[in-house]
Symmetry: C2
Subunit: 281 residues, 2 copies
């Protein structure tokens, strides 16, 4: 009994550590983004999940450099529906009970030469526990040098975790962020991982933290490099066109969006990912 | 045998009549829209359905009054997948064989005071045969008088068919064009009907033709009345915001869009419905 009690206590500690990290990362990212912004700052809105427990905080900035960027954190718990628990590892064994905490970020940039970006990491607990997440780059005008920098920075974080992790998570990302009806990739990729549970929670958590840190190193230099580049109405029209593809992917295919919309999640938080200005010309 | 042969011949004649009507209605609508347009005309593009039979013609106009309007016709035939035929009346009994012909229209208007509109009518044949369709109005700024005119014109067509038809099809429309995750209607309604088969094909076909004619009488006066109204950047911003809702409905819920995208339909024709300029501010 003592051993089980201690294990449960460890698990509660782990949940708290993860939740605290997602919040700390949110603060760090918001500060880094505000440092690149010339006008505006993040506005935070709390929300509470009903009828079940938990909630979150949306942080939204509408600026000059960051045309629209949302950085959301949430920690929720409750019970998955009978239908849904079949799709989630360990949920049936547990009567559908779950706990989930995470951070989710989407930035749509004013300048067509600064790539849009998405980042998300999360910890999920059913009768099992795991991490998931990733980050991917969505430039209207892909620049080889930028794509290389983004990927290499993530590769370093992955290789600190496992030698094969980058290849595996890069491939997963390419497969996930693909728009079948357009026969095209949503962006230029990044990494995507799910069901991460090596048996060593501390090691997995360290990786997730590393991905969060690597995200800033991978992305902020691309903002700095491109945010003052001159652009024309035509560049901007192309940006809006590419954002249409981004919206198509999120509304038709994205698992998180579909799940959230159809199970009564916080709609404002879920759809914060949609572009501020877009076009199907 | 003679009786069955004659019935089959009737059925082939009916398919031809329906297909010819959808084409004639397309021509009539395109002419009526071009008469209201100050700049631009419809450009037609044919497409062929592979590997199975049939195809269609997209007609697209990007004008000053009609910012983006698509009027598509198609006649296709083939075999539904094992999974899909279970959802379609009469398809299992027939080895999944189907024939379908129809017209589909979406108009996004430049002036925020001219409502966007959608109209579609179709004839489907499996081992059964029926009509479906409807039309609904999507104003950024609902005007009571316009909504009343639109509904009353459709009501007259419905009442020529059956005394209860308008109430039934109006309700169906309100239920169908509802955005659950926003808890709001997509627009101000209209009519929606499906599986229409009274046993008297000629009567049902006459109703479908009547709906097509009524559409023009219901909509063209709203274009004429509102197209020259002055508007501001704020009106235009609100129009773009409402178009975001339209895109959300079509990409997340619309059965035709979902079906088309996931079964290899003509993507350009299916997504012609998406707004030329929209925003999630």
């Amino acid at each position: 009994m003592l051993a089980i009690g201690a294990m449960l206590q460890d698990f509660e500690n782990n949940k708290e550590k993860a939740q605290a990290w997602f919040k700390a990362l949110r603060d760090k990212i918001c500060a880094a983004f505000e440092a690149e912004e010339t006008k505006g700052q993040f506005e935070k809105t709390d929300w509470v999940r009903r009828p079940e427990g938990g909630g979150g905080t949306m942080a939204l900035m509408r600026g000059e450099v960051f045309e629209k960027v949302g950085v959301n954190i949430s920690t929720v718990h409750g019970e998955f529906s009978e239908a849904f628990r079949k799709q989630i590892p360990g949920a049936e064994e547990n009567g559908g009970a779950f706990w989930a905490s995470g951070i989710s970020l989407v930035a749509h940039m004013r300048n067509p030469f600064v790539p849009a970006v998405h980042m998300n990491t999360r910890m999920i607990v059913t009768s099992k526990g795991w991490f998931g997440g990733g980050t991917d780059l969505n430039p209207a005008y892909p620049q080889e040098e930028d794509t290389k920098h983004f990927h290499e920075t993530l590769q370093q974080a992955c290789e600190r975790y496992a030698p094969t992790a980058y290849d595996e998570y890069k491939k997963w990302c390419d497969e996930y962020f693909y728009i079948p009806h357009r026969n095209e990739a949503r962006g230029v990729g990044g990494i995507f991982f799910d069901y991460l549970d090596s048996g060593d929670w501390s090691k997995d958590f360290a990786f997730v933290q590393d991905v969060g840190e690597a995200f800033l190193k991978a992305y902020i230099p691309l903002v700095q490099k491109n945010k003052n580049k001159p652009y024309t109405d035509e560049h901007r029209a192309h940006l809006k066109f590419r954002r249409g593809r981004y919206a198509e992917f999120n509304l038709v295919y994205d698992r998180g969006t579909q799940f959230g919309l159809k199970t009564g999640g916080n709609v404002d938080a879920i759809l914060m990912s949609l572009p501020p200005d877009c076009a199907w010309p």
